[in-house]
């Protein structure tokens, strides 16, 4: 097993999780994608610090790490918003009008797909296919897949995400 040559970028305990994945794979360069998955799962996105650290630990050139990180759609290079709304744009969802849903969110939130609102409240993302085609059109609100979405449903959910007061009220009601 090869030993890491540098210390983590900060004393954040979460680096231990990343170290764990690298150790499990014996610091082999071919574990790069697995390690990037762990970084994203732990930190929410791939920061420059993280990429440099992974590059040094696995002894993979920075250019290759950056190349891999940017090649795959699943990896995010900027921090996600507090809430995420993933609109599926797969074939079945497209046939059932996902483009209209996307437009509706873009209009309400004032952002384009792949962007996060200025206050960091909402990220709007599109997915190639969630595999929930039987329930098309499907949208993922904060990790929860929801099927048979209409323009009204998505508008309502997104407005709650955007409006902090409304959100607080909702939490109070649920409590």
């Amino acid at each position: 097993m090869r030993k890491p040559v540098i210390m983590p970028p900060s004393d954040d305990k979460r680096w231990k999780i990343v170290d764990g994945t690298m150790r499990r794979h014996g610091y082999e360069p071919h574990a790069l994608i697995e390690v990037l998955h762990t970084v994203q799962e732990t930190f929410g996105f791939l920061s420059e610090d993280a990429l440099t650290y992974v590059s040094a630990s696995l002894q993979v050139p920075c250019s290759k790490v950056y190349g891999v990180a940017t090649f795959y759609h699943y990896f995010a290079m900027s921090p996600p918003g507090k809430h995420t709304c993933v609109v599926c744009t797969g074939t079945a969802c497209h046939i059932k009008g996902s483009a209209t849903l996307l437009e509706a969110v873009e209009q309400i939130a004032g952002i384009k797909q792949g962007e996060t609102t200025k206050d960091g409240n909402l990220s709007l993302v599109t997915a190639r296919c969630l595999g929930s085609c039987g329930l098309a059109p499907a949208v993922v609100f904060d990790g929860q897949v929801t099927g048979k979405i209409t323009a009204e449903i998505i508008e309502q959910r997104v407005r709650t995400f955007l409006d902090r007061d409304l959100e607080r009220e909702l939490i109070a009601v649920e409590a």
Binding site: H30, L32, I33, V68, F71, T89, T91, I95, R128, A138
Partner: protein, 552 residues
């Protein structure tokens, strides 16, 4: 662990089930889970406990039952009773019905004798909706791992391959390469190390067969892979699964742990000298990684760009070792083929396409979900009998098979049998099994543009014909949908399709023009309406004809 131990686990598991008068099965695959089936299950359990019925009636989480649009689905008593769109509030009524024979509310009662269920033939999906995917004992009780034990104790590797060859099984990933031939090549290739890879990178939008199999019956895939490893002489395997399928990944990992614990995977399987370790590797959202050489590059931790073939992965694949790559559904077919013999499998289906095929029905169709039918059934039967036809009395327009690599089949070809060769003869492909039905509200130019947009952004960029060609075709299609088409655009589009098909490096580029080609072939009138009349017959696009600027 030997064969007797396996039989003991099977009989104990069966005996446990017989202790109960009723077993209520709740679908806990991704589709139904997103419609709250977990809460339904909890509510049923607590309701039984409240009534003191937990000794006579058991609630079990099972894999996909198929009819996703009616979820969450609940079934009881050998599927004679089925319930649809169940909410936690219906728990009491379901128990009343199952235990006390009281009539259930008509809104949740589902007829289990509809064509959707009765016209299917289940081989790959035989355990889906029957067993608990997170319990290896359930799988063993359903004859699981018996085939693997037979193979490693009684078969020579060559014997396994000859059964697979005799079955006539062809790769279920889409291209339909004979599985037996692939296994033979890997078995014959020289090398100390060999690998088996399961391609679970189901990137086709509109396809979810592999996801359902992995979520509902993960052990079947592991058993198929171990059998293949024995046949070709590999001792290490990888399952390359999409990161977008977290539940499938979780269940696979649980299954691998369970199988290792029982000695069904790992070192000295079944007290023989056969070793086989399996690892899950996550994809990261790149469609091109479904291509064999790109997939290998991705497992190696690099960018998923394909390489020219030959050398084929069967000779020189992962880390330059001979590598067998098969799709999830192909591996899932292996255990029953070994159990019942190659001839049995070859007796199902058509002359050149044997066995069954799992399809994911979606789009403008009444019954959306997963079906498994014998090869050779007509498209019309699948769509109008099993699928229940088009809702809201609209007219059928086309069915898209094979995702971004496939084509759109119009009404006049609905009577062709579904097999590899017939679909190819009308310009489409079998593909991995996605079937998207479109009615008159879909614009075929828009559909062609949609797929071209997909291929354009999924092109890895390595070869010019695919990288530039898909972008050019997309911009022409966009001009057409916007009513800005130039007079020679159609001709240019036709020429580009031929060029991209012939000159691209891998399958992605070679098949990317298919949706455009088939729509040009069957729906030229729609293209003409956009270009010549500035009109979209389906009302999806808003073509605004280019105004001719007159110089003053």
């Amino acid at each position: 662990m030997n064969q007797d131990d396996l039989a003991i686990i099977a009989s104990e598991s069966k005996r446990d089930d017989k202790l109960y008068d009723h077993v209520i099965k709740v679908c806990v695959a991704a589709g139904c889970l997103s419609a709250n089936s977990e809460q339904v299950k909890t509510q049923l359990e607590s309701e039984l406990k409240q009534r003191g019925l937990e000794t006579c009636c058991k609630v079990k989480g099972v894999g996909c039952m198929g009819l996703c649009n009616a979820g969450p689905l609940v079934a009881a008593d050998a599927n004679d009773r089925m319930f649809q769109s169940v909410t936690p509030y219906d728990a009491a009524a379901i128990i009343d019905n199952v235990v006390d024979e009281k009539p259930a509310p008509p809104a949740i009662v589902m007829d289990s004798k509809i064509d959707f269920f009765t016209r299917q033939k289940k081989i790959v999906l035989e355990n889906c909706g029957e067993i608990d995917p997170e319990r290896i004992e359930d799988y063993i009780a359903a004859d699981g791992y018996h085939a693997l034990f037979n193979v490693i104790t009684m078969f020579k590797p060559q014997g396994v391959i000859s059964q697979v060859t005799r079955s006539g099984l062809r790769g279920r990933g889409g291209a339909g390469f004979p599985t037996g031939l692939k296994w033979t090549t890997v078995a014959k290739a020289s090398g100390n190390r060999k690998y088996v890879i399961c391609n679970a990178d189901e990137g086709d939008p509109g396809a979810f067969m592999d996801r359902s199999v992995l979520e509902s019956d993960p052990h079947r895939v592991l058993e198929g892979m171990a059998t293949a490893a024995y046949a070709v002489g590999a001792d290490r395997g990888f399952i390359y699964c999409r990161a977008e399928y977290p539940l499938a990944v979780k269940r696979l990992r649980v299954a691998i742990r369970q199988a290792e614990k029982l000695g069904l995977l790992g070192l000295n399987i079944g007290d023989t000298h056969f070793d086989f370790r399996v690892e899950v590797r996550l994809g990261a959202g790149a469609f091109v990684c479904g291509e064999e050489t790109a997939l290998i590059a991705s497992i190696d931790g690099g960018r998923g760009t394909p390489k020219p073939r030959p050398p084929f992965p069967a000779q020189q694949g992962l880390w330059d070792a001979p590598t067998l790559i098969n799709n999830v559904e192909t591996f899932a077919n292996i255990p029953p083929i070994i159990r019942k013999g190659g001839e049995w499998f070859a007796s199902i289906g058509t002359e050149k396409s044997k066995g069954t095929k799992v399809f994911a029905l979606a789009g403008r169709i009444k019954n959306t979900g997963l079906i498994e039918v014998p090869m050779g059934m007509t498209l019309r039967e699948i769509i109008f009998k099993l699928g229940g036809g088009i809702p809201e009395k609209r007219r059928f327009k086309a069915v898209q098979t094979g995702g971004p690599s496939g084509g759109c089949v119009p009404e006049q070809h609905l009577d062709i049998p579904v097999d590899y060769d017939s679909l190819a003869s009308v310009g489409s492909i079998m593909g991995s099994g996605g079937m998207i039905v479109m009615d008159e509200t879909s614009c075929m130019v828009d559909v062609a543009k949609f797929f071209m947009d997909f291929c354009m952004s999924e092109s890895c960029g390595k070869c010019v014909p695919c990288r530039v060609g898909t972008t050019q075709m997309h911009s022409i299609l966009e001009r057409i949908t916007q009513g800005q088409a130039r007079p020679k655009d159609l001709e240019l589009l036709q020429r580009l399709t031929g060029m991209v098909k012939a000159a691209s490096l891998c399958g992605l580029g070679q098949t990317a023009p298919n949706p455009t080609l088939t729509t040009l072939r069957y729906f030229m009138d729609e293209y003409r309406a956009h270009i010549e009349e500035g009109r979209c017959p389906a009302g999806i696009c808003h073509p605004v004809p280019a105004r001719v600027e007159v110089c003053a």
